[in-house]
Structures are given as C-alpha cells and as structure tokens.
C-alpha cells in the first residue's frame, strides 16, 4: 500500500518536471488596437467593471467573446499560454503584470476611462462622512500624493503606518490580488488603498482588520455588515450604487488592453529557479503550510461534528423506525437531510457566513467548521443508518428478551457493529470532506487551495503551486486510506 503510494507520488512529481519544461509555448499576438477585440477571446475578472464594458462592447456585429476569471493572475496566465487573445484590466495592475512578464504589453489606446472609490453599506452615512473627511485631509496634508508617488508613479518610498494598536476594529474587506492597490508582500497585505484605510482607522481611533476575500464577495461582505468598508479598486457604476454607497473618488483609472508582444520568453527559467521563486523566496511555502494547517483543522473538527450530528440524527431516525418515538424530531431530521443533500456545499457555506452569522463577528475557521460539520452530518447520518439497518435485528430482540433496555442494546451491541459496517463509507465521506474544504477561499479563509492561489497570484505561475497543492491533498488522502484499511483489517480479525 505504502509502496504504491510512493510510486504514484513519484509519477506526479515526474509529470510536474516534464510539464514544467514544456511551458511558455505562447502563440502570436492578434490584437493591435481596441477595435480588433471583436470576436476575440478576451479575459476579465468577474465583477470588475471591465467585465461589464466588455460584455456591452461591439453591438451585434463585433461582440467580444468574454472569458471570466475569479483572479486576474489566472487571466494573465491564460493570455500567456495563448488560450485567450487579450485581458481587459485596470491600468495600474496592467503595468505591474507587464513588469513581471516581458512577453506582455499594454495597448496605448485605453478601452475605457473611469474612477475608483471605496464602498460603504447604505445606512452607514456616519462612516461615509468620516471617510470623505479623512480623504480630504490626506489631500491637504500631502499624504495622499506621497502614497501616489510610492505606489503609482514609483518615485517615492513613503508609507503610512497604523498608529492605533489596540481597541475596537475597523473591518476592511478587500481582495489582495490587485497590485498596486492591494496585494500580498511577504506576510503582509499592502497597497495604496490599504494605507488609505490605515489613515482612516487612525482617525477613528480603531485598529484596521483586513479581510482578504474573493473580489465578487467584497460588496456583499460590506452590505451584509461583515465588513465596515470595502476597498478593492471599485469603479463607480450606477448598478452598484443601488446596493451600496460610494465614497468620494480616490483615483482615476483607465481600463486598458493587455496583449502578448508575440516574442518568445527570452530565457526560460530553470526548474530550480521556478522552485525557488514559488516556495523559497519570501518564505512563500508558508502560504501552503498555513493553508494545510487550516485545511486539517477544518476537516478534522468538521468530521467530528459531522459524526456527532450524524449519530444523533441516525439514532432519532432508527428509534422512530423501531418504536415510533420522536415523531416531530424525526420530521425535523428528515427536513435537515433533504435540505443539506439538496443544495451545493458552496451555497451552504456562503449562506452560513453571509446570512446566518451576518451580524456576528465570528472566527472564520469556526464558520467553516460549522458549515462543513452540518453538511457532513447529513451524509454521515445516512451512512450510519444504513450501517445500523445492516445489523441483524434478532440481536435487538435477544437483548430486550434478556431484560435490557432498548437504548442499552443499541449502544452496546448495535452501534459498535454499525460503526464497523459504516467504516468504508465513512472514510469516503471524510475524504470528500477534506477535498471539499477547498472552497473555503470564498469566505476569505486561507486553506490549502487558497494558499496555493496566493502564491500563484504572486508568481504568475500556475504549475508549481497547483501541482504541489494537489500532491499535498493526495498525500493526506492516501495516508488516511491506508490507516483506515489497517483499522478495518484489525476489526475484521475478530470475526473469522
């Protein structure tokens, strides 16, 4: 078993090395001006205004074939690989991407010009006024210009540091994959809008708490009260104004067209260089380590909660079947099973985070554990119920005929056998639970998958982070399967 695991693993690593050397096969450029974009495949970030503009562009005759990505880095990756012909994005991130990738360039002609502002929930006019006041102050005292020089013009090195260290939090929702406005640098999230928020927090005497979540979830987080303020390079649009209030304008922005230069990558990085860039530099492996840690915590705690819930529900349902007891509770359990098994895990996670716990400030790990535990409980209960029903009911008869209580018989005779019957199916459930936790990024948790994603957004390199994340999942799952197989063998020994 272990041997087989290793050989599979080495196969994976071999594939990684092989594909790694094969990369960088980009095709020629096809876009030379904005009007060339009609009928081309063009990447945008979901929820970004470029998405809206691109979808409306060209009327019926020269429509753009829009490909939507959750992360800009993914769109850029696709562009480099020749999967799409251009990426529409804001000019500052575009400059950053070009710096990172010499085989890309920006069209001189802008696609659209627009303005950025922050978002604050409707009804929170007090914060809105404070923000605008702080912004005005920053313009007057020169801090704003200094920050512009640091981040946009590249001519300064001024940084604003938060002064308030303790006290109430001011929660900022952002998507830190949008340089130079907000992005990861080492262990920190930095950027123009982040430092703006520090200034605001200081002015309010609060400590800034940064929540790094998916771009298309930021406005939601603010309007539902999960965050006080959203800064993620938001363009002011009429549509968004319906659900949220915008602050005064922060910076003017141009949506530009990023294309390939058509040249081959000058010197392909070697395997070791890529490895260094993805894992060693700036201790980037820590994203994977932290993610792995969170993934394991969520999976283990959710599995325990799931088994607990599952047992409870199974006991109610079996008790109802044998004795006709617990009518109402049984009905509730059935509703629970139907709802959980009838809706996607992702939707349940979002509902629990954004609706159930919308007004409480609760640890996200706990939210994930609760969401996955509740989900898993439904599947576990059906597995255990099957396991219980597979136990020959004659044993219950015999136990009761000896004067034992129904409950005593269940606990001492039926459940142990049911557990053993259910073990293979429970393992499968736990394995899918581990893999399902990969959607935690949607509530801004750095799980294993998102850990890899962060590296990906820093290095613009898909291969290493993705494959290494896959390998880590694989090792966990294979290790778990081996352990359970052994346990099963040991339990079976009793019965030959």
């Amino acid at each position: 078993m272990i041997k087989r695991m290793f050989s599979l693993l080495s196969l994976l690593i071999f594939m990684l090395a092989f594909v790694g050397c094969n990369e960088g096969d980009s095709s020629a450029n096809k876009v030379y001006k904005v009007s060339d974009l009609g009928h081309k495949k063009v990447g945008v970030q979901i929820g970004n205004t470029a998405d809206i503009y691109a979808s409306e562009y060209g009327g019926d005759t020269a429509k753009i074939d829009v490909e939507r990505y959750t992360k800009l880095a993914d769109a850029v990756q696709a562009l480099k690989q020749g999967k799409i012909d251009a990426v529409l994005l804001d000019d500052q991130p575009a400059i950053y991407f070009v710096k990172q990738n010499p085989t890309l360039r920006v069209l001189d002609e802008a696609f659209v010009e627009e303005t950025y502002a922050g978002v604050i929930a409707k009804g929170n006019e007090g914060l809105l006024d404070t923000f605008n006041l702080a912004l005005k102050e920053m313009h007057e005292n020169g801090i704003f210009d200094s920050l512009m020089n640091t981040y946009i013009n590249g001519t300064g090195s001024y940084h604003y540091v938060q002064k308030v260290k303790n006290g109430e939090h001011l929660v900022l929702a952002t998507n830190a994959q949008f340089p130079p406005y907000e992005y990861h640098e080492g262990e920190y999230i930095v950027g123009l809008e982040i430092e703006l928020a520090y200034y605001l927090a200081d002015k309010m005497g609060r400590v800034l708490e940064i929540q790094d979540i998916e771009f298309d979830a930021v406005i939601n987080a603010v309007s539902s009260g999960k965050a006080d303020l959203g800064l993620a390079g938001f363009t002011v649009t009429e549509e968004r104004k319906k659900s949220i209030n915008f602050t005064d304008n922060l910076v003017d922005n141009r949506v530009v067209v990023l294309i390939r230069t058509g040249e081959k990558e000058a010197s392909a990085e070697t395997f070791t260089e890529k490895f260094h860039k993805n894992f060693i530099k700036d201790n980037r492996w820590k994203y994977i380590a932290e993610g792995l840690c969170n993934t394991l915590i969520i999976a283990v705690c959710a599995a325990l909660l799931g088994i607990f819930l599952g047992f409870l529900v199974a006991m109610v349902r079996v008790g109802n079947e044998y004795n006709g007891k617990y009518k109402i509770t049984n009905w509730i359990c059935k509703a629970y099973l139907a709802i959980i098994r009838g809706t996607p895990m992702m939707v349940q996670l979002l509902i629990i985070y954004y609706i159930v716990f919308s007004s409480v400030n609760i640890n996200k790990l706990l939210v994930a554990i609760i969401a996955f535990g509740i989900n898993s409980g439904a599947y576990v209960s059906e597995i255990i119920r099957g396991g219980i029903k597979a136990v020959d009911p004659g044993q219950i008869e015999a136990g009761r005929s000896l004067g034992l209580k129904f409950k005593t018989v269940m606990v001492n005779v039926v459940y142990p056998q049911a557990f053993k019957n259910s073990l293979p199916a429970l393992t499968n459930e736990f394995i899918s639970l581990i893999k399902e936790t990969s959607i935690c990024g949607y509530i801004g948790l750095t799980d294993l998958t998102r850990g890899g994603d962060i590296i990906r957004s820093l290095t613009y390199e898909a291969m290493f982070p993705l494959i290494s994340v896959a390998i880590v999942y694989f090792i966990i799952v294979a290790g778990l399967s081996t352990c359970v197989a052994r346990l099963e063998k040991k339990l079976k020994k009793n019965e030959r």
Binding site: G394, A398, S401, L402, G403
Partner: protein, 247 residues
Amino acid sequence: MSEKQVMIEVKNLCKSYDDKQILKGINAEFYKGDVVAIIGPSGCGKSTFLRMLNLMELPTSGDILLDGKSILAKDVYRPTIRARVGMVFQQFNLFKNMTALKNVMFAPVKLGLMTKAEGEKRARELLQRVGLADRTDHYPAQLSGGQQQRVAIARTTAMNPDVILFDEPTSALDPEMVGEVLKIMKDLALSGMTMLVVTHEMGFAREVANRVLFFADGVIKEQGTPEEIFDHPKDDRLKDFLAAIKK
C-alpha cells in the same frame, strides 16, 4: 398434581394483526418444573404465543399471570418481566461484537445482578456446562451453529430466569448438530428448569416433555401427556399433522 405450584396462567389470550385474528382465546396453566412441548402447523401462532409470554408482543385481549400477578398491568416494568422469562431463538441471535464469554455475562452484569467478577465466573461455569469451556474467547462468527445455540442457552440461563421459552431452537441447525443442543436442553430440564419448547423434534417432545400442547386454528386443539398426544390422538387435525410429520 395438585401440590404443583402454578407459575404461569394464561387466560383467554387473543392476538390479531390488523384484521387477521391469529390467536382466538388460549387458556393454559404452566407449573413450576414443567417441560411443555408446543406443536402445531406452521403459521398457527406458536411463536406469537411465546413472544407474548415475555412481552415482546402485546396481546389484543386476555391476561397473563406470572406467580399470580398480571404482567399486563399498567404499573409493570416490562424489562423486569423479560429478565424473569428467558427466550432462546431459532436464529441464536448472539451479540456478534462480543465473545462467547461476554455474550453470557453481559446482561446480568449490566443489569447489576452480579459484579463483573461474579458474572465472569458464572459465565465460565455455564459455558463449561454446555461443553464450550475452550470457546470462551471466540466470537459468534467463529462458532458453529450448534455451538452458537449452546452459548445462547447459557446466556439465557445466566439470568436465572423462572422459565425459559424455546422457539424452534434446532430448526436452523445442520442435522448433525441437533443432538448436542437437545442434550443440553435435556440436562436443563433434568435440573428442574421450567421450559416451554416450540419444536418439530417429536423424539425430544416424547422423551423430555411431561406435557404436549397442540396448537391449531388459533386455539389449543388438544393437550395431554406425550403418550396421549402421539399414540392416541383424538382430534382429526392432530392426526393429519402427525401423519404429515412422519413422512
């Protein structure tokens, strides 16, 4: 016979499932030390009758008295009755997750009738008595059918019940194992245990039972000593039944 002490008295016992009436008024008395064989065609309600005696099934009407007291009264705690009226099943129904020893000692220890040490000592004694001293640590799946049924008998005996009900205890066994189980039951009968045995083993009924009841059409059609029932049957249904069995 008058000095014999009545243990169980059954009065006009009826049982229906849905609209179907299975038992239509059973009247019988069972005495301490009695070994009663119950025979009758399949589906006539023999199992149902036994299961009502230890309250695994509730009668539709009628009464059951144990030592003169109704066990159907509202204030009766049913597990206590079941502990006094043991049952041995056709399919053995051993606890599959427990060794033979644990099977025997589990209930008396759990119910607080014995300490763990006493329970274990008694379980070993009983297993030795049924010839399984060397199988104490085996799980049911590691035992033959005959051995399993002997463990089941030991398990029921361990509760020190007033009476043991046997529901076709040898019907699920391979023929070569029937003898070993019947021998244990005979020993038990000789030790003075009160036993009600539903069986198709006419040889056993004739040799060990002091009374035979013939169930048919939801009532006791005929009853008497083994000689009266087997050698001089009066009822036509009983004659047909005995003829069918002999074939």
